[in-house]
Symmetry: C2
Subunit: 217 residues, 2 copies
């Protein structure tokens, strides 16, 4: 079966959400000194390609480890929104039709993965509150090749440059027990329908976790 | 399809190989102070359920990120070695017959997952050098529900209590570009054949990485 990695590599250049822990990689054991190589890794629970649990934004929401592991293999449906400009909302009219509700995750391609590690990566299109609510109501989790489904603060400041404040798209989705998969890459030329496996790191009490996202079709 | 999680949770109680970084989990953002919850995570590249890359023990060996991601979905074959005593070798005669070579990973159940977090976890059975060499020659990667395919130092000392020194099973397998999956759990009552998905955390230059191991059959 054709298989494609949809995950960014985790290294010291990894773009993180403003205020989140940086990714730190350092040697813990070496061939020269120890006879084998081991690496120490410092990450945040939302580093790189990762899943958000309801508990990320919803007090009392479920952690990732409270979901059955099979829940992380999604019947996915790609929608191409790569025509959107920087900080432009993705609206209800950009979504697949409501009648087409036979899938578990809507995967939104913005094309913003091309800006990974650049300042521009923070200026991604985002999901309008109404569009996020529509996804939740239709039973769709959401994956995106951008830093967030809500507007991100710009790298220059810590404000979201006049965009709606807060995280309404997160609340709409996570408040309805849908999951959010952020920082995808490799979405160009994928078939419209595929299986998206995104088994997260097995963190206890996880408000989110890096996941190795893999498309199979 | 029936699906089972074969991964230990990563938390502050995680048993690590002597000398490896401890698992450290702490809040990085909270609902009260930040409006969302994020966690800082410190781990070693061989923490919890994890894959070893050839570069773990082989200078010049390949890193995990040099393998196609499809390589981490294994056609697996379970063998029950749960009758072995502490620090008893698993020998060539304990392996499936050589003629039965139509799978990609041999998954060895020692039963030692029951001792996770206990001192006894370090005293697991191990793969003899000859058995590891046989697996490598037959084309099998190896998964095990124990800390290592080689004897581990005991928790009390840093010595392996009179066992063969070094990591001959690692060298036999990783030196032949087979992969090793350690610290599995949940192997009891699995069917003899299943698909084992163990997509690793997308670490750059990875000598190993935690993987969410999932059985599907």
């Amino acid at each position: 079966m054709p298989t494609r990695d949809l995950s960014h590599p985790l290294d010291g250049e990894t773009t993180v959400y403003p205020g989140d822990p940086e990714v730190e990689i350092s040697p813990a054991a070496t061939h020269e000194d120890d006879g084998y190589r081991v690496t120490a890794v410092g990450i945040g629970s939302h580093a790189g390609t990762h899943l958000d649990a309801p508990s990320h934004t919803e007090p009392g929401g479920r952690n990732l480890d409270e979901f059955e592991v099979g829940r992380f293999a999604f019947d996915a449906r790609l929608v191409d929104c790569s025509g959107k400009e920087a900080r432009e909302p993705i609206r209800v009219g950009d979504l697949p039709d409501e009648s087409e509700a036979d899938f578990g995750m809507l995967v939104i391609r913005t094309g913003w993965a091309d800006h990974w590690t650049e300042d521009r990566y923070f200026d991604h299109p985002y999901l309008s509150a109404a569009a996020a609510k529509a996804c939740a109501e239709r039973g769709w989790s959401v994956g995106v090749d951008a830093l967030s489904v809500d507007p991100s603060p710009s790298r220059r400041g810590r404000e979201a440059d006049g965009e709606p404040s807060g995280v309404p798209a997160h609340h709409a989705l996570l408040g309805s027990e849908r999951l959010i998969l952020e920082n995808l890459t490799g979405l160009a030329d994928l078939p419209e329908r595929f299986e998206l496996r995104a088994y997260p790191l097995a963190l206890a009490d996880a408000d989110g976790a890096p996941a190795r996202a893999v498309a199979v079709w």
